[in-house]
């Protein structure tokens, strides 16, 4: 294996997905390298979120393979995919609103001994200790993004921007090697956008690779190492942010 292949974390090959005859993804291929921030842009209906749903196992593709660290993940179910190291966020926020912010983050930790039923009765000291450590770590993560005073508030009382931030914290709490962020800064105030982008920019230094979908072109230009422009389920243009931004095909697609 040469060093280029070694550095690939996710390899998508010829993925096709049809919804009742509508081609959401049409022979889409790309590869993602370790520690990069890859931006996915394109008009609505280009197939960006469909691609996320296929990678994370919520949808099965009609054709194609997806290799994560050389391992085929097409036939894995969602929870297995999360547990081998791919986490995601959702375009429309998904949080458990009735429980506290802290508990939402706690849910996102992987392989908790306390989540196994037998540990509720046996060996519970071990799971209790783990739970305590998780609580400390979760509060730390929440403090880091500046939501310390919201720790024990019910999630529904948080503002939209804060909820968005919390969903990112949940995604990072899983300590996944690859995170898929679906419009992380859509619809939130500029100062919160800055805060979120700073957090995303730091991820590669912590060993996390990022794929993000975003319509905010300034945000994409600011954080991404590489951009893929998608339209009608295919890859139209790929490369450095500036190059893609000035690609005539991209300009053409947006003006159309």
């Amino acid at each position: 294996m040469n060093s280029y292949l070694m550095s690939i974390v996710l390899e998508i090959q010829g993925v096709v997905k049809n919804f009742n005859g509508l081609k959401a993804l049409d022979d889409f291929s790309c590869s993602v390298q370790y520690g990069e921030i890859l931006g996915l842009i394109g008009p609505n209906g280009a197939g960006k979120t469909t691609l996320f749903n296929i990678i994370s196992g919520f949808l099965d593709p009609d054709f194609g393979t997806i290799l994560f660290k050389g391992k085929d993940i097409i036939n894995m179910s969602t929870h297995q995919i999360v547990n081998i190291g791919i986490s995601r966020t959702f375009q429309n926020l998904r949080l458990i609103y009735q429980i506290s912010a802290l508990e939402n983050v706690l849910l996102s930790f992987k392989r908790q001994p306390g989540e196994q039923l037998r540990n509720v009765f046996f060996n519970w000291k071990h799971s209790l200790k783990q739970e305590k450590e998780n609580r400390e770590e979760a509060s730390l993560l929440i403090n880091e993004v500046g939501l310390a005073n919201k720790l024990n508030d019910p999630t529904e009382s948080l503002s939209y921007g804060q909820q968005k931030l919390l969903s990112l914290v949940c995604c990072f709490a899983a300590k996944s090697e690859l995170v898929l962020l679906d419009e992380p800064v859509a619809g939130i105030a500029p100062e919160m956008t800055e805060k979120i982008l700073k957090i995303i920019q730091k991820l590669p230094t912590q060993g996390t690779t990022v794929i993000m979908i975003e319509h905010n072109i300034d945000a994409i230009m600011q954080v991404c190492d590489r951009i893929i422009f998608m339209d009608a389920g295919t890859k139209v243009s790929e490369g450095a942010p500036e190059a893609v931004k000035n690609d005539p095909r991209v300009i053409h697609a947006y003006i159309d």
């Binding site: 929870h79 547990n83 998904r94 458990i96 706690l106 849910l107 306390g114 009765f121």
Partner: protein, 290 residues
């Protein structure tokens, strides 16, 4: 005094039933209409064993609880592929099947004639001779079941159940194998309902299929809704209230000919009133189908 003991025993039996149903319906959000089927299976297994083989109480208890858990898995696993209303319908179907088996398999269950268990439990050589001693036994059992349920819902396991109830997609995206959680809680809950069934058959000393109908399942779910889904002590409070209502009716002098009808009207009216004006129940924190 005997009367008071009787009421307390019935409250304990219904507390076990409603607390265990609350685990499935209030915490995991799966509305099961088959709870009295498991209750009935437990009652019948212990009654048949005691009647035909004169086997001791503890063996009957353990076999009934384990077989009910097994039945719970048998219903739980295929039901996982279906959600919401369809799950309700599937459990109603199971409930009706069980009732018909109890009613028609005469060689095993004695059909509509029922089975008598004229035997008090003997535990480690101690024979329970009065209803007071039986009350102590069922009180201890209820406390154990409440404690187990409490441990389950307060653990990270219980936190995942709540996440499944609120948003399955979130739970999946957090890497939880939700199928396993659902089956496990269904198995535990069915086993507990079976335990209530064993106590019922020993206490009443006569069982017949009419005690284990869909109406009984609806009664148990009414306790959960009125007490509050997603809070264990709500189910205990609900059981106390709903068991006491017919006794209060008797005290205020409603003639026994119409007492049963009035009781049903009150139960139905309360269920509707709670769903309209207080859907969370007395102490609950979850609203079905919200």
């Amino acid at each position: 005094m005997e009367y008071l003991i009787h009421i307390l025993i019935m409250i304990f039996i219904y507390s076990i039933l409603s607390v265990s149903l609350n685990l499935v319906s209030g915490y995991a959000g799966l509305i099961s209409m088959a709870h009295s089927a498991f209750y009935g299976i437990g009652a019948y297994i212990s009654a048949i064993m005691a009647f035909k083989y004169q086997s001791p109480f503890l063996i009957n208890f353990v076999s009934a609880v384990s077989l009910c858990s097994l039945f719970g898995a048998l219903v739980g696993i295929p039901s996982l592929r279906i959600r919401d209303d369809y799950f309700v319908i599937a459990t109603v179907a199971f409930q009706i099947i069980i009732f018909n088996i109890l009613n028609n398999w005469v060689s095993l269950t004695n059909g509509p004639m029922g089975i008598s268990v004229i035997q008090m439990p003997i535990i480690f050589g101690v024979k329970l001779s009065s209803h007071l001693e039986f009350l102590i036994l069922i009180g201890t059992l209820s406390a154990c079941i409440y404690w187990i349920s409490y441990r389950v819902v307060c653990s990270p396991f219980g936190r995942v159940l709540k996440a499944i109830r609120e948003d399955e997609v979130f739970a999946l995206a957090a890497g939880k194998n939700i199928a396993i959680f659902k089956v496990l809680i269904f198995v535990i809950s069915s086993g507990m309902a079976g335990a209530a069934g064993v106590m019922y058959s020993y206490y009443i000393s006569f069982i017949d299929p009419t005690s284990f109908t869909v109406m009984e399942s609806i009664f148990i779910i009414t306790i959960v809704i009125i007490g509050g889904a997603g809070k264990l002590f709500g189910s205990v409070a609900g059981a106390i209230i709903l068991v006491l209502i017919p006794e209060i009716l008797r005290f205020i002098g409603i003639p026994s000919t119409i007492e049963a009808n009035i009781r049903q009207i009150i139960y139905g009216g309360m269920l509707v009133a709670f769903i309209i004006w207080r859907p969370k129940g007395l102490f609950g924190d979850y609203i079905f189908y919200s």
